[in-house]
C-alpha cells in the first residue's frame, strides 16, 4: 500500500518503538526513502528521545540521595512496627 505523509505521522511513535507489524513497517520505510519531510520528522523525534534519555536532562536535586538514605536510616532503626491500616 502506498502511504501518505499523514498516515506515516500517525504511526511515528509506534514505528520508533518497533511495535508496528512487518507489513506496515515496510510501507513506512518505503515512504521514508523518498519523503524528506517524514524523514526529518522521524529524525527530530528521535533527537528528542535521545535527549530525554540523557541523565543530564532531568537532574535530581543536589543531595537528594543523601537525604533519602538518612531518612531511611531513621526509619530502619524503628523496631518492628505493626503494619498501618491503609
Amino acid at each position: 500500500m502506498k502511504l501518505d505523509c499523514k498516515h506515516v505521522w500517525e504511526y511515528i511513535s509506534e514505528y520508533i518503538d518497533d511495535t508496528v507489524d512487518a507489513k506496515l513497517r515496510e510501507d513506512i520505510e518505503r515512504h521514508l526513502e523518498h519523503c524528506e519531510i517524514c524523514s526529518a520528522i522521524l529524525d527530530s523525534t528521535r533527537n528528542v528521545l535521545v535527549l530525554t534519555a540523557d541523565d543530564r536532562t532531568f537532574e535530581l536535586p543536589v543531595g537528594y540521595s543523601e537525604r533519602l538514605h538518612e531518612r531511611l536510616a531513621k526509619e530502619l532503626k524503628i523496631p518492628e512496627t505493626p503494619e498501618e491500616p491503609k
Binding site: 519531510i37 529524525d43 528528542v48 530525554t52 534519555a53 532531568f58 540521595s65
Partner: protein, 208 residues
C-alpha cells in the same frame, strides 16, 4: 536482567526476614526513577523530594506484601504514583482528574512540525545545554496525563504495558498519550534543533 531480578528477589527475601539494612541497597538503583515519577505528577522539586522519600518509606513498610510475580520496579512506581496523586489531590481538591479527562477528550492538533531543508544533527550538537533546558520546559508544559506516560516510558524506560499498568490505564490509552506527548515535544523542540543542523550550502540558508 534475569540475574538482576534474581538478586533482587534474594535481597527482598532477606530484608523481609530481618536484614533491614539491605533495603538501602535494594532501593539505590531506583532512587532516580522514584523521584522522576513523583516529579512528573507534582512538578515541584521540594514537594517531589518529599513525596519520593515518603514513597520509599512506604515501600519499605509494605515490602512484605510485594509478590515476586510482579516486577519490583513496577510495584515501586505504583507506590510513587499513588503518593504523588495523594498530594496532588490534597493540593488541588478532588477535581483534577475530571479536568484531565476533559483535556483528553478535547483532542487537539497532533501534527508534527514539518521541517524543510532538514540536515541530520551531529550528536555533539545535542550536547548543548539550552537544548536540555528547552526540553525540560516543554515536558513540564505537557498536559499532566501525557507527561506521566512520557516520563515512565521515555525517561524511565518502562515498556508500554508496564507504563499503562503503573498508571492504571489501558495500553491503548497509554499509546495514544505517548504518541501525542512525543509529537508535542517534537513540535516544541524543532525550532531549537533547527538552529543546530548544519546548513545545506554556503551562507544561503535562512538563518534563524
Amino acid at each position: 536482567m534475569q540475574q538482576k531480578s534474581k538478586n533482587e528477589a534474594e535481597l527482598i527475601a532477606r530484608i523481609v526476614s530481618g536484614e533491614k539494612e539491605l533495603f538501602h541497597e535494594l532501593i539505590r538503583p531506583y532512587e532516580r526513577m522514584v523521584y522522576l515519577t513523583v516529579f512528573s505528577i507534582l512538578k515541584n522539586e521540594a514537594e517531589a523530594e518529599d513525596a519520593a522519600q515518603e514513597a520509599v518509606i512506604s515501600a519499605y513498610r509494605h515490602l512484605g506484601s510485594f509478590r515476586a510475580e510482579a516486577k519490583f520496579s513496577t510495584w515501586l512506581t505504583t507506590i510513587a504514583i499513588n503518593e504523588g496523586r495523594k498530594r496532588l489531590r490534597r493540593a488541588k481538591g478532588a477535581t483534577f482528574e475530571s479536568i484531565d479527562e476533559q483535556e483528553e477528550e478535547k483532542g487537539g492538533d497532533f501534527t508534527p512540525a514539518q521541517l524543510t531543508d532538514w540536515r541530520e544533527i551531529p550528536l555533539e550538537a545535542l550536547e548543548r545545554k539550552e537544548l536540555r533546558e528547552a526540553l525540560r520546559k516543554a515536558v513540564a508544559e505537557l498536559p499532566d496525563t501525557y507527561r506521566q506516560v512520557f516520563t515512565l516510558r521515555d525517561l524511565e524506560e518502562f515498556n508500554i504495558e508496564e507504563t499503562a499498568q503503573a498508571l492504571g490505564i489501558n495500553t491503548g490509552v497509554a499509546k495514544v498519550r505517548l504518541h501525542r506527548a512525543r509529537v508535542m515535544l517534537q513540535k516544541r523542540l524543532v525550532p531549537f534543533l533547527k538552529t543546530l543542523a548544519p546548513k545545506r550550502r554556503g551562507f544561503f540558508g535562512s538563518a534563524p
